[in-house]
Subunit: 335 residues, 2 copies
DNA sequence: CTGAAAGCGCTTACAG
DNA sequence: CTGAAAGCGCTTACAG
């Protein structure tokens, strides 16, 4: 005690101190290979007392492992994705930490996966988690080519990719169904980046609800790909002119703008027009009136994705696709 | 070509292929040590053609380096911090990638730095960047004790810590000054987490402005530590009753609630009360009326912090404190 | 200018 | 049950 503990202990140090071989120490620590209970105890005790910390990098080199996961975030994000990615990331980090893996961050956009390529060719990770996937996805194509284990958060039409997703389709179906059951005839659907796979799922759910009720979608009320406030404003005014009864928004950033446009046009929610969002982030949290929306647990999906990724790395069998539950939260805006 | 390139090339492979020693190959690649221009070229050519990728992990082990940076994000965040952290992170990643470092993510709160301890004792990083620091900061104390190189984004009263910050104090002084110069007498200041160092800086700037004008702060108009909508609501109502002329908000999440409370009380901005924010995120982006606010470049501070961290690691001298510029953006809400 | 050898700190057949 | 030795893929004095 009181020693200047500048130098880190190595496995050789503890072997020497105990008069055993490095092999024995290694075995005591890893639990692999036969070893006498006595010696094991001695080693563990010494290690505890002298605060020996194995060098994970060296261990990794010997095992051709890194104990790192790469998680790739999209470079471009909107206000509402952001909290999703953040919470999701926290979920990933939470699990990875508990099983001794670390998270290496990678920022990509679908046009430029240079950053991902660097990390992979540097062999810095054992697997990668894609937080965002696209209809045509350069990341997926690259990872498949390089035969790097990966999972995606979301869905994908690429074959053989391991997917962890929320059940957006059924969620959207259910929320749309609620409005349809109220007898609404003129329901608009707006927003949604069409390069994202989730946009297809959401639209699919919307369509499913119509089909189930035996009604037809009115294509003139569907505006996909609206990605800026000015367009949304304009669209909302058009919808009002067409005496729309309800507006479904692809996410709460869209909903936020829709609500603003409605307010400016002095249209009351929910009295004159009902509004709901297909994704519920922090943005609308304190809105008055409270906004009906789908609710997904971002942290949970991160945790499940991470668990799955590690299973893949450690070669335990996993489901090809796992679908997580959702909540339909009906509030004032659809009443 | 066409070969199944399952096995990665090693430095030994290229040495063999070229009939030189591993030493020579290593030197050709690293540029360190004497080496004939001829042989250097031969090595480089071979490497290029056969797409040899050095194993960064092995290199690191030999050099006792990791080529990883740890960036720690706070676990708890508000809507307005979030875009800051995100952009900042992107700035860090941008620079780190270009100089061959990767970013290891760590989530901490000031009570629980377990995650950071794990990464440090696993020796997974060469240095750490703290994106958020506290008046009493367990992270800083730990890193100093362990003698791990680190820099912080923000300011700190701990001795000898390398700080990269925006000049919040002068920024706040300037914005407050603008209102004071308009002849406002009753300016309120609200919001701000008092465990954050930046809250002190902001308040300091606010106070500086008063001092410069030879006026006195009215303590009954200062509400620090307001961290929830309900409290903000209540406070805004009190302020209205006290016929406040302007409300300065510590950040735009606070501003957002203030604006909402004002709207509900049918108080017009800026006609009856002026409003401005000391931090400008995405949240107020499209607000009507447009909100005056301070503007800081989060991506830039991330880049500078990362550059500084790497300089520290590579032992090039750095400034103890670097202060980045700000913009005071005056819009409708203070006119 | 070039190379043989030891070393970074672990793991893991192989032999006893 | 335990250990000597080779190996993971690099770097770097040291010697020539």
């Amino acid at each position: 005690m009181g020693e200047s503990e500048k130098k880190n202990l190595t496995i050789a140090d503890v072997a020497d101190a105990l008069g055993v071989s490095k092999t024995t120490v290694s075995r005591a620590i890893s639990g692999k290979g036969r070893i006498g209970e006595q010696t094991r105890m001695r080693v563990m005790e010494y290690i505890q007392e002298h605060d020996y910390q194995p060098n994970v990098i060296a261990k990794g080199l010997a095992q051709s492992k890194t104990y790192n996961l790469c998680v790739v975030m999209p470079e471009h994000y909107g206000m509402s994705d952001l909290t999703f990615f953040q919470d999701c990331l926290f979920g990933i980090e939470k699990i990875s930490g508990t099983v001794g893996y670390d998270v290496l961050l990678c920022i990509c956009n679908n046009q430029d996966i240079f950053s991902l390529e660097r990390i992979i060719s540097n062999r810095k990770v054992d697997g990668v988690i894609l937080m965002c996937s696209f209809v045509k996805d350069a990341q997926i194509e690259y990872l498949k080519e390089k035969q790097v284990p990966f999972v995606i958060i979301g869905s994908s039409d690429y074959p053989d990719v391991i997917q962890i997703d929320h059940d957006h389709r059924n969620a959207c179906k259910e929320l749309t169904g609620v409005l349809l059951l109220k007898g609404m005839e003129r329901i608009a659907l707006i927003g949604g980046n069409e390069t994202h796979v989730v946009t297809k799922s959401r639209y699919g759910g919307f369509a499913d609800a119509y089909k189930q009720c035996g009604k037809e979608i009115d294509p003139s009320l569907v505006y996909l790909g609206l990605d800026n406030p000015v367009l949304i404003d304009k669209t909302v005014r058009e919808l009002i002119a067409q005496s729309v009864e309800a507006i479904l928004c692809m996410d709460d950033a869209v909903a936020n703008h829709v609500l603003k446009a409605l307010r400016e046009a002095h249209v009351e929610v929910p009295q004159q027009v009902k509004v709901a969002s297909f994704y519920n982030g922090l943005l609308l949290e304190n809105h008055v009136p409270a906004i009906s929306a789908l609710s997904f647990n971002a942290r949970e999906i991160g945790m499940v994705a991470c668990r799955t990724m590690i299973d893949v790395i450690e070669e335990v069998p996993v489901e090809q696709r796992t679908l997580l539950p959702y909540e339909v939260v009906l509030k004032e805006s659809t009443q």
